[in-house]
């Protein structure tokens, strides 16, 4: 193994989604026989970068070389696999209706002909035994019947398995997120073994202990770029957290006011995540409550339960929701901007039993002005708007309703900074009028607009921070498991 020749070379890779720059010129090399740890907060660009490398996304600019061959622009998932790049994704890519062995066959076309089943069983079975001894999985189990942890093990073993196609670079994106500590340890040991035999591994994890203990080098990403890259021994937990965090801007002090609300205003929302050991969430009238933590730690589920007035929550009054995942949770793609805004408040436009469309339109037009949706005509289709303006329409839908409680599901994803400032102001204004906000956000800046912050981890609330106690470091420390 020649240490000087990189197996993968990324040079100035950029990628934008609309107005959002997900990668801002990343230059990175992977060497044979090393494990590179990749860390960063949500939206720092880790997953986007790995999707570019595995061929799922095409880079806008930049050069990509694998094993000395320039394959810029020709990188497809198949091509990447042919060059030995394997990826274990966060969302599992197994076919749930097939058995473990059959799934191995899907990824390895060379397993065919008479006796293919035996070959597939041996391939995946031996790899499972090697990586996760005592895994308890039969190669004839249907994947859909396996627990998430076992599916993850199969997915990992499948990526490391070698047939005619080599596994040169294995990308592990949060591989231990659903494994228990014992299985995670086995995996990390295997990663070390694998790199010792000349393989290359990229390990993405939010468990800093894992990263520090397994990697040879660590790259820290922030805002779409690599901001720190050094030998693993040069970092420790604190320096990693510091490198990931964004520079704190001058903040106005609102803590005194926040304390006043907590102490005097009545509680309007009480809710508890469905996990065993957890803190309960409470929101008082007129309060902006932040739900922090890494993405997907149970924040959205809690918001939806509050919205549904589900059992286990105590909610005083109507709730409106601002969706963050606009495409799946928010907009109605065939409707105009006006229709998208008015759907949340139809009862206000009833004349007898009929809807007064003119009134609905006036209402939507009023909100266009108040919230600054940039369009000449609110009868235009909602899809004619930019992402940020679509989001404003969703805010208008919720704020325009009669609900006194508003829950927001990371609503600023992909929204430009100008829009954000406008919306922050509007939220403060509405809160001052007595509305209560539950605001799930993965961005530190937004938490500074909150009166009280709850940090989520693995479905539970692990920290309950008053505004004056909340610092970026405390939130980050609570977000990352301390035992790992």
């Amino acid at each position: 193994m020649n240490e000087t020749v990189p197996i993968v070379l990324l040079d100035g890779v950029e990628k934008s989604f609309g107005a959002v720059r997900a990668l801002t010129g990343v230059t990175l090399e992977l060497r044979a026989g090393e494990c590179l740890g990749l860390v960063g907060h949500n939206g720092a660009g880790k997953s986007t970068l790995m999707n570019v490398l595995s061929g799922n996304l095409a880079a806008d600019t930049g050069r990509i070389e694998v094993a000395g061959a320039d394959i810029t622009g020709r990188l497809t998932p198949q091509n990447a696999a042919a060059h030995g790049v394997r990826c274990v994704y966060q969302e599992l890519s197994l076919c749930p209706n097939l058995t473990v062995a059959e799934n191995a066959r899907i990824l390895h076309p060379s397993i065919a002909g008479i006796g293919w089943r035996g070959a597939a069983r041996r391939l995946i079975g031996e790899k499972l035994d090697e990586v996760f001894p005592g895994h308890g999985i039969s190669t004839d189990d249907i994947v859909g019947d396996l627990s998430i942890a076992r599916r993850q093990m199969v997915e990992i073993a499948r990526a490391f398995a070698v047939t005619t196609a080599e596994a040169r670079v294995v990308i592990l994106d949060e591989p231990t997120s659903s494994l228990d500590a014992v299985a995670a340890k086995k995996l990390l040991d295997h990663v070390r073994h694998y790199v010792k035999t000349g393989g290359t591994c990229v390990l993405i994890s939010h468990l800093l202990g894992e990263i520090l203990g397994t990697s040879d080098r660590i790259a820290v990403m922030r805002d779409g770029g690599v901001v720190a890259l050094d030998r693993a021994s040069a970092f420790d937990r604190n320096s990693l957290v510091k490198a990931m965090g964004s520079v704190a801007d001058a903040e106005q002090d609102r803590s005194a006011e926040s304390v006043a609300i907590r102490d005097t205003a009545p509680v309007v929302v009480q809710a508890m995540p469905k996990t065993v050991e957890t803190i309960a969430l409470a929101a008082h009238k007129g309060e902006v409550v932040g739900l922090a933590g890494l993405s997907g730690q149970g924040q959205t589920e809690l918001l939806v339960r509050v919205f549904d007035h589900a059992s286990g929550t105590k909610v005083a009054g109507e709730v409106a929701l601002v969706a963050g995942d606009r495409q799946t949770d928010g907009i109605f793609p065939l409707w105009s901007i006006a229709e998208n805004i008015a759907i949340g408040s139809l009862r206000q436009f009833l004349k007898g039993i009929f809807l007064d469309h003119a009134a609905a339109r006036r209402f939507a037009d009023g909100w266009r002005g108040r919230i600054g949706i940039r369009t000449p005509d609110i009868d235009q289709p909602i899809l004619s708007l930019s992402g940020g303006n679509q989001q404003k329409a969703l805010f208008a839908r919720a704020l325009g309703s009669t609900a006194k409680i508003i829950v927001m599901d990371d609503p600023m994803r992909g929204v430009d900074i100008g829009t954000k400032q406008e919306v922050y102001g509007m939220i403060r204004e509405e809160a001052a009028k007595g509305r209560t906000f539950l605001w799930y956000t993965t961005e530190m800046d937004e938490l500074r607009n909150c009166d009280h912050v709850y940090v989520f981890r693995e479905g539970a609330i692990v920290a309950d921070l008053r505004r004056r106690d909340m610092t970026e470091e405390r939130v980050l420390h609570a977000s990352f498991r301390s035992d790992a």
Partner: protein
């Protein structure tokens, strides 16, 4: 000229243009002889199509996978039970009507309960329930063909100035359907659910209530159609609903309603119903047999759906 531009963009326009072209082609072929009668017949038969298609339209608009396959069975059951209980007595006409509507509502309730309780796709729920309703109709009917009350039969065949009364009645029904779709919270909810069920729920739309109401309404309309059709054709026949299964879906699709849900219009239903009937008439006049008529109908349905999919991309 914006009026013309808006008109061109109306989804129902093409069904109407198609109906007009087909009618004119027939008229040219026959030298205008009998064109009036053809139109009158088209309005009568079209009316029956529109009644069931109206319900089917609301169901299809609920989104992918939503379709009611129990319409023919429901029509037959309602028609048979109503005819038999009226037994030709004019005094029983309202009772028969009420029975037909109640049966329809019952069918719809059962359909929705199956969808909800067994958590099975609407297609399979309405399919399996339709087997039962069809059997119930056969059992109730016992091969008898009970004549409808004369007054009712007269109503279904009556004309005012050459226009069938039943067509006028269904025009009013269609207007009600149009208002329901565009001017009520229910209608907005149906369209919202069809575009994105989860987003509709999170925007405060009462999703399950609306779905239940839609399936019940669809079956009730089928019951009404069965009642009127049985009266029109001199009694309920066991296969009377047969052609309405595919036709109800075809009329909805040709009428410009999106089969993927979330977009519907009522005027297109009338246009498509007239078009389908006039197409058959035209092919008849041209001397084409039943086979050619069916093949062309099928190809037109596929052509419309292919053209519609090219027009707008759904993500």
């Amino acid at each position: 000229m914006t009026g013309v531009a808006t008109l061109i963009r109306q989804p129902w326009l093409w069904a109407w243009v198609g109906a007009l072209v087909v009618w004119l082609a027939t008229a040219v072929f026959t030298g205008g002889k009998g064109s009036g009668e053809v139109l009158s017949a088209a309005m009568t038969f079209g009316a029956f199509f529109v009644i069931v298609a109206l319900g089917q339209m609301f169901v299809i608009t609920l989104g992918p996978g939503n379709v009611d396959l129990s319409i023919p069975a429901c029509m037959t059951l309602a028609g048979t039970v109503a005819m038999k209980s009226m037994d030709g007595a004019s005094a029983m006409i309202p009772v028969g009507l009420l029975l037909a509507l109640v049966i329809g509502a019952g069918v719809g309730t059962l359909n929705y309960s199956l969808i909800r309780l067994l958590r099975i796709p609407p297609i399979i729920a309405t399919l399996s329930s339709s087997f039962i309703f069809q059997s119930a109709a056969i059992w109730w009917n016992r091969g008898l063909r009970v004549k409808p009350p004369e007054a009712l039969a007269d109503f279904t065949t009556a004309k005012i100035a050459g226009v069938p009364v039943i067509a006028l009645f269904v025009v009013v029904l269609a207007i009600l359907g149009h208002v329901l779709l565009t001017r009520t919270i229910y209608g907005r909810g149906v369209v919202a659910i069809g575009q994105n069920m989860r987003a509709a729920h999170l925007a405060g739309v009462k999703v399950e209530r609306i779905r239940a109401a839609t399936y019940i309404m669809c079956a009730t309309l089928a019951g009404l159609c069965g009642y009127l059709l049985a009266a029109f054709s001199g009694g309920a026949a066991l296969n009377m609903g047969e052609e309405y299964l595919l036709s109800s879906i075809a009329v909805v699709v040709i009428g410009g309603t999106s089969v993927a849900g979330g977009f519907a219009n009522v005027p297109g239903l009338w246009g498509a119903s007239l078009f389908l009937f006039l197409l058959v008439t035209m092919l008849n006049t041209f001397g084409a047999g039943a086979g050619v008529r069916l093949v062309l109908t099928g190809l037109i349905i596929i052509g419309v759906i292919v053209a519609a999919s090219g027009g707008k991309a759904r993500t």
